[in-house]
Subunit: 162 residues, 4 copies
């Protein structure tokens, strides 16, 4: 089954910038998702950058752009990499608008570019979930499949819970 | 949903031993699976060591021990970490003997203890798959869910393919 | 020869905080320098925390505290881990005040806690330099021994140069 | 000061081969030393591959080749990356034959390609030592400068000691 990964940014895609002494997106607009896939020896998904933004900075036009990318994708199985801050909000925005597709949002609490990131574990779950779940909108984070209505970060625990 | 991870060894659990200048299991009989889960910020599975062996060294008594552990587990969703060499053989051994449970075998081509391992990606997929697939025996490797009959390593490509 | 490492903070000691989505010092006031040493299989230096601060936030009282720690140390060979922002300023502050000791400042452009840090390379150089250089104040960064008068970050290149 | 690094192989340069499930040299004859230097943000040494071998497999012709490379090098400061098994034997072979140069042997107990290697710490020390020590043959491992006569691995402790 073909899988498309729509990249929207978020912590999973941040890198350390020694000049700024901060975590930021790559200056050249590149995504690390192909590297996460290569580490997982997962060669088959198509990767498409929709944007590279912190999801706390998303507004409705960003969510419209994500929706348009989902609708334009020829694949039935879609993974969206997304910041953890408003992942649930985007999931709920998409709900009811993408009938017939399985959409899985995922991301990370730690950037993939730094050691001990949860990005690989989460993306591994999301790629599998997009292929086997019935159509609908889901989040896959930290080993759980979470329906859109309940997809919210447990800030205290630093993870997503059911 | 409760998930149990049965640890049997394999590459995912190997560590570098500087005296032997080789990859081997921890001398103290420990598994790295809790560390893989912690990296994935996945706190809920129960982890049980059945054995720590290279799957090329498995014989029927090892597979009987795995079967017994599956049958004894109270959970319906079971992940088995396993060497890649004979993962398919174990899957086919279990087929038809564990009705009513969802069994997902997984592992890694590179040890979790060394950088850029596929172990986190694979375990992330397996933990999700064990919760959402119907009962049966599956392998989850490198982004794919593979039925027991076709679960075999593509040695040339260094991964599992459909 | 005994070596003392005085820890003052800086990038080398920062860790990722997933709540803040930023790099910061450990909440519990711990330093990563013992872990850098353990990775280098270097067991002999004494490690003492003077403070854990970003060197851009240093004022004269911080530099007085560093000087006092240097003077109080029984060892002749001293390494100071320090932020890169004002490393040269501290070196020049210490110059002429610590006769008879070999003082080597070092640090990192990337935190040790994230992958591909220069902290290990730099500390490896500093620990050796403190044992073999004549008494005086030096910086050791990125493979170079740099005298205090010329110890300044090349911001453009993201390293220290002669 | 110009520094040349002569690469002879050893653990520092080994990579994981998932087909062999073992640590071995890169199939394409490449060395990881430029990557160790890049991680250390150390841009100036020249890197030259003399061979890529396990030092337990060295014979006199290998040591002659290393000596010839040292003698042919235009630089006064030379680092030799070397397996830990017979590092001391090579140091003693070179002693007295390379007058006027500072030769520093180094290596690692864990490959650079896997996490938590001592290779970066050791090479950082060796590059500095080659520039500041008087001419002669030295080993730099695990934070110590060790004269050729006493350069031998402490197998029990997994490091080099004075």
């Amino acid at each position: 089954m073909d899988v498309r990964i729509l990249v929207t940014g978020g912590t999973i895609d941040k890198v350390h910038d020694p000049r700024l002494e901060a975590l930021t997106f790559s200056r050249d607009g590149a995504t690390l998702i192909p590297e996460v896939l290569a580490t997982g020896r997962c060669h088959f998904p198509s990767v498409q950058i929709v944007m590279l933004k912190d999801s706390l900075d998303f507004d409705d036009s960003d969510r419209e752009a994500i929706l348009a990318a989902v609708q334009a994708a020829p694949e039935q199985a879609i993974v969206i990499t997304h910041g953890t801050g408003t992942m649930g909000q985007t999931a709920r925005y998409l709900a009811g608008k993408v009938g017939g597709k399985t959409i899985v949002l995922t991301g990370a609490m730690r950037p993939h570019s730094i050691s001990a990131s949860d990005g690989s574990f989460n993306l591994g779950g999301a790629v599998v979930a997009a292929q086997v779940l019935p159509d609908g909108i889901y989040g896959v984070m930290n080993g759980r499949v979470i329906e859109a209505a309940r997809l919210d970060k447990n800030v205290e625990a630093g993870r997503f819970d059911l």
